[in-house]
């Protein structure tokens, strides 16, 4: 069997997904046995900039014109393009405040030198190219990455959870942060896959994996308001990781 050619790319982000892939220490040998990594500058020195790829894993949000350029080039040379991490899937943390003009940020962060940077409102990959599969998470779960590679080698797309964090939280018999502890927990509207890690440590879900499909945001907001949280607090949390998600945008437009 010819090993599929793989590229692992980073746009604007923290490289957390790439580090997570490198963290698959027990499986790295198996991974290398199964795939042919042609591009992974975070981990290798010799990278093929041009060759055709079977699968491209892309991390990070599009925040600069050069991100968009690189992304379009990756799409051209890849059969499958997979968004990894919440930035690539939803825009992530960089997209938290797209309503504020970029110039303000640039000036605040870089002072007068900020003018030399080109920055655009942070957006997920799907706003620019066709994305074949999304693996969200901040960072991604090792298991989901490995599962995805194994399934793709087998010729299938992986089966990733399509339900909310609450489901995993209950399966693990964790104390409910929302009902029991009255915390600002986004578990009911956040896509599972993390094993409800934070509630397991008595930390409410901050929604780092992005919203579940058909999330009932209106009901979640109503519940949190009844618990005494202000709309500002609720919306700030909703904005943290997936502010660009259409389903959350609907909520922001409402009030």
């Amino acid at each position: 069997m010819v090993k599929p050619k793989i590229g692992i790319f980073g746009l604007t982000g923290c490289a957390g997904e790439q580090i997570m892939i490198l963290n698959c220490e027990d499986q790295l040998i198996d991974i290398l046995g199964a795939i042919d990594i042609r591009y992974f500058p975070t981990a290798m020195t010799k990278n093929d900039e041009e060759c055709e790829l079977d699968i491209a894993f892309v991390e990070g949000a599009v925040v600069q014109p050069k991100d968009e350029e690189l992304l379009k080039k990756i799409r051209q040379r890849s059969k499958l393009l997979i968004a990894i991490g919440t930035c690539a899937v939803w825009g992530g943390l960089p997209a938290m405040r797209n309503d504020v003009p970029r110039e303000e940020f640039l000036e605040k962060v870089y002072g007068t030198k900020g003018k030399s940077f080109k920055s655009i409102p942070a957006q997920p990959l799907k706003n620019f190219v066709k994305v074949d599969l999304s693996i969200s998470g901040c960072p991604i779960e090792k298991e989901q990455f490995l599962k995805a590679v194994a399934s793709l080698l087998h010729g299938d797309l992986p089966l990733l959870p399509s339900y909310a964090v609450c489901t995993e939280c209950k399966m693990n018999e964790y104390v409910c942060m929302l009902v029991g502890e009255n915390k600002l927990c986004l578990g009911p509207i956040t896509i599972a896959g993390c094993g409800a890690r934070c509630p397991g440590y008595n930390i409410p879900c901050h929604g780092c994996r992005g919203p579940v499909d058909e999330a009932n945001v209106a009901s979640e907001v109503k519940i949190l308001k009844e618990k005494g949280f202000t709309l500002r607090d609720i919306e700030n949390r909703l904005r943290s990781f997936a502010a660009q998600a259409e389903i959350l945008q609907e909520q922001f437009k409402k009030e």
């Binding site: 399934s151 080698l153 609450c166 209950k170 104390v175 009902v179 029991g180 109503k222």
Partner: protein, 355 residues
């Protein structure tokens, strides 16, 4: 012949109700370790409880209300690896862990009733061996309880069980009346027979007094008669749409339900794409993918239809198939729902009762 008569006499004598002083409870529970790993209700967080391996007697919470997950987790775990497969060796069942013996101490009647309902389901047209092997290896010791404001087991006719346990303990003050339900329960009692006493008239009076008293402690009630008919008549009720707007499809109610048994089955392939495992995992009819079929059609695409389906299956569909609702009134779904969807309120609304 004499041996047979003695055996018979002993059997008749022990298949009855005995008395265990509360001060001897720890010693009795300790002796149960010979029958399996003892699990009992312990505290989790400030307000909740779970059935968990007992490592310290002082941790048992005999007056617990309800556990986060029901005891179904012992027979039908959240995730269960069914078998492994490879191109070279074909399919290999994974049955080893099914044989592990447990003694679960402190199940309330509703939870025991729920297990009896699961028994019916898993013994259906296709008998589920994994469920029944586990079931056989788990001993059940029941414990009576005081209802709280979410308990409606009495309405669901699950506040008292006649079978489904090895032993059942009823509190009568300084001691428990211990009902023996099975041969295994009999063995448990025999093992520590010095701890057990005969029941006297005073004990019986006290038991009856408490039993009567309990009936008046229920704070919530559902009228069960003709509920299936009313649900059919109200199939198009606006109530379902209203609840659909509140429901988060988070699946909490299904996970914590002692009689929700749906599961999804999937394969996990290893990196060599040559071997892997088949798993099953709890599923919920509230998930949007639940009724999604190949080709993309979804039989219950709208949330209100999914909510309605869940209530209908518990209170209507199951009645048609098995002669009673599959709800036992444990109150877990009421406690778990972030949107405060309350089955008692839903049924009362459907009934048109004044709230």
């Amino acid at each position: 012949m004499l041996f047979y008569q003695n055996l018979r006499r002993d059997l008749v004598k022990t298949m009855q109700i005995l008395k265990l002083d509360k001060k001897n409870l720890n010693e009795f529970i300790f002796s149960l370790n010979d029958f399996g790993e003892v699990h009992a209700p312990v505290k989790k967080g400030d307000k909740q409880f779970v059935f968990s391996k007992l490592t310290d007697f002082s941790k048992i919470k005999l007056e617990y209300t309800r556990t986060i997950l029901p005891p179904k987790k012992y027979f039908h775990p959240p995730t269960d690896t069914l078998f492994k497969f490879s191109q070279e060796e074909g399919y290999q069942s994974l049955t080893e862990e099914l044989r592990k013996k447990y003694v679960i101490f402190g199940l309330h009647p509703c939870d025991i009733y729920a297990i009896k309902i699961l028994d019916l389901i898993f013994a259906g047209e296709f008998v589920d061996d994994r469920y029944f092997i586990r079931r056989k290896n788990v001993a059940i010791i029941g414990l009576d309880c005081i209802p709280d404001d979410k308990c409606f087991c009495r309405s669901m006719r699950a506040d008292f069980v006649e079978d489904g346990f090895d032993l059942f303990l009823s509190d009568i003050g300084n001691s428990y009346l211990v009902r023996v339900g099975t041969g295994r329960g009999d063995d448990m009692v025999r093992k520590t027979q010095d701890l057990f006493k005969e029941v006297n008239k005073k004990d019986i009076t006290e038991y009856k007094r408490r039993s009567d008293e309990k009936k008046n402690l229920f704070k919530v009630d559902i009228e069960l008669s003709d509920l299936p008919e009313i649900m059919d008549l109200e199939y198009e009720s606006k109530v379902w749409e209203e609840i659909g707007k509140e429901c988060l499809s988070c699946g909490s109610c299904s996970m914590v339900c002692p009689t929700c048994y749906c599961y999804d089955v999937f394969d996990e392939i290893n990196l060599d794409a040559n071997h892997g495992v088949r798993k099953r995992q709890w599923d919920s009819c509230l998930f949007k993918d639940y009724a999604l079929v190949a080709g993309g059609h979804n039989f219950r695409a709208e949330r209100s239809l999914r909510v309605k389906n869940r209530f209908f299956h518990k209170q209507r569909g199951f009645v048609a198939q098995y002669g009673r609702p599959s709800c036992v009134g444990c109150g877990r779904c009421i406690e778990a729902c972030p949107a405060k969807i309350d089955i008692i309120e839903v049924i009362n609304r459907i009934r048109g009762a004044k709230l």
